[in-house]
Symmetry: C2
C-alpha cells in the first residue's frame, strides 16, 4: 500500500485524507501555504486516531514536506502550475497527482517522472461526511507507475474508478457545473423570489428532493415537466411579466424556457 | 368529513384521490373528458380497497358527475375557465377547488358559491408514491365555507397547510419552475454533454443527490460553489469555448455564470 502526503488542506484534501486514513493508508505529511491550515488537517487526522495516520506532519514548505510514495495535490486550479514549478528535485521520482477537473494532466510534467489525475465526481463541503463508496473516480496516468498507484488508491475508497483523458475530463467538469453549480443557482433564485414575497423558502425542499430523486428512476428527458415543456406560452409570458423587476431572474427564465421549448419542440 | 369528487384523472388527481381515500375520505366520483381515464382512476381506487372509496363512479359528463361536498378540479390550467363555464347549476352550492399554481382563485367565481384553491408544492409523476406528509399545501378560499372545507381536507393528508393569496401563489409557482423544471433542464444538459462524449451520465447521480441534500443543511447562498462563484474567469472562458458547437448549452452557460458572478460580486 503506497504512503501519501497531501498538498493542500481544503475540503477535497481533508475528505480524501480522512477517507484514505480510514482505510489504513499512512498519511505522511500535509502541506499548506499557511501553517495553521496544514496543522488543522494534520491534527484532525491525529484526533481521529486511525491506525496509520498518526505520522502526518504539517508544513508550509514543499521542501520540508514528508517523504511519501504518492503526493496528492488538492489545491486551487491556478496554484497547480506554481506548485509544479516549485516541486522539490528530491521528490521528482515519486508519483504526483492532482484532483482538478479542468486542468490537464500535463501541468505536472515539469515536476515529476510519474504523474496523473484523480478526479472525484462530487462536490465537497467542509462539514458533513462524504460517502466515497458511491462516487466515481476518473483517473489518468502518465505511465504504468502512476496508473498502478492510481488504481491501488482509487479502489480503496471509491465505488467506481474509470480512466478518462484530460480532454474528456473537461466535459465532465463542465457537466458537473451544470448539474451542481447551476442547479444550486436555480435553488438560490427560487429562494430569493419567495423571500422577497414573504414566503418561507423551505417549502421548496420536498420539491427539490423529489426532482433530484426522479432522475435516479428515469432520465432527465422523461422527467421534464412544467409550462415550457408543455409549450404553455401563456404561463411563460405571465411568469416573464412577474419578473420584470428582477433582471437576472428574468433573463434566466427566458433563456431556459426557450431552450426547453426548443429541445422538446414544445 | 366532507365527501369528494375529482374533476380530472391525471397525475395530481390520481395522487390526491388515493391520499384522501387512504385517510377514509369517500371519493364519490371521477370525471374526465375521456371515459377511459375516468374509469382507470376509479378502478385503481376500487382495486386499492380503501374503507370508503368503493363508491367512486367514473363519468365523462360533468352533469352526471356524482354528488359530493367538495369538487377538486385537477386539470390543465387552460381547461379551468371552460369547466367553470360548463359547471352544472345543480352543483353551484357545493365547494369547488382547483389545484393550479398559476391560475387565480376567481376563475371559479362563475361556477360556484364557495370556491378556493388547494395547491400542493410538489411535482407529481404517474409512478412512485407521494409522501404528502412532507408537502406544504397552500390554500385560498372565497368564504368561510370554502376555507373550512380546505382546512379539514388539507390537514388530513398534508404535513403543512398555509394560506396564500392568488397574487402570491404566482410567485410560488414561478419559484417551483426554477427549483424543479429548470433544475431538471440543467440535469438534461449535463446528461447530453456526457453522452455526446461517450461518458455514462449516471456518474452524475451522487453529485445531483448531494447538491439537493446540501440545501437541507444550509442555504443555497452558502452552498454555492464552482468557477463562477470563485470568479475564475479562466475556467469560465475555457468552458464557454468547449460549448461553441452546442448553442443552447453555451447560452445557458454564459447567462447563469454571469448571474452567479454578479450575485456574489465574484
Amino acid at each position: 500500500m503506497p504512503t501519501i502526503a497531501l498538498v493542500g488542506a481544503g475540503n477535497v484534501a481533508t475528505h480524501l485524507a480522512h477517507a484514505f486514513a480510514r482505510k489504513g493508508v499512512e498519511i505522511r505529511g500535509v502541506y499548506s501555504r499557511t501553517m495553521a491550515s496544514a496543522t488543522a488537517l494534520a491534527e484532525s487526522l491525529h484526533a481521529a486516531s486511525y491506525a496509520a495516520a498518526h505520522l502526518a506532519t504539517p508544513t508550509d514548505s514543499l521542501d520540508l514536506l514528508a517523504d511519501a510514495d504518492v503526493y496528492i495535490l488538492a489545491v486551487k486550479d491556478d496554484a497547480l502550475p506554481h506548485i509544479a514549478a516549485a516541486w522539490p528535485e528530491s521528490k521528482r521520482g515519486r508519483v504526483v497527482l492532482h484532483t482538478a477537473g479542468s486542468v490537464a494532466m500535463d501541468v505536472l510534467a515539469p515536476a515529476a517522472e510519474h504523474y496523473g489525475v484523480l478526479y472525484p465526481m462530487q462536490t465537497f463541503t467542509k462539514t458533513g461526511t462524504v460517502d466515497f463508496s458511491k462516487i466515481t473516480a476518473f483517473v489518468e496516468g502518465s505511465d504504468a507507475v502512476a496508473l498502478h498507484a492510481l488504481a491501488e488508491l482509487a479502489q480503496l475508497i471509491f465505488g467506481n474508478c474509470q480512466p478518462l483523458s484530460s480532454a474528456d475530463r473537461q466535459y465532465l467538469h463542465l457537466a458537473a457545473v451544470f448539474a451542481c453549480n447551476f442547479v444550486n443557482h436555480m435553488y438560490a433564485t427560487a429562494y430569493d423570489l419567495l423571500s422577497h414575497h414573504g414566503i418561507d423558502p423551505s417549502c421548496l425542499l420536498p420539491l427539490i428532493a423529489e426532482t433530484a430523486q426522479k432522475v435516479e428512476r428515469t432520465t432527465p428527458r422523461e422527467a421534464q415537466t412544467g409550462p415550457a415543456r408543455r409549450g404553455d406560452r401563456n404561463i411563460v409570458a405571465k411568469h416573464a411579466a412577474l419578473l420584470t423587476d428582477e433582471t437576472d431572474a428574468a433573463t434566466i427564465y427566458q433563456t431556459i424556457s426557450d431552450s426547453i421549448m426548443r429541445k422538446y419542440n414544445a
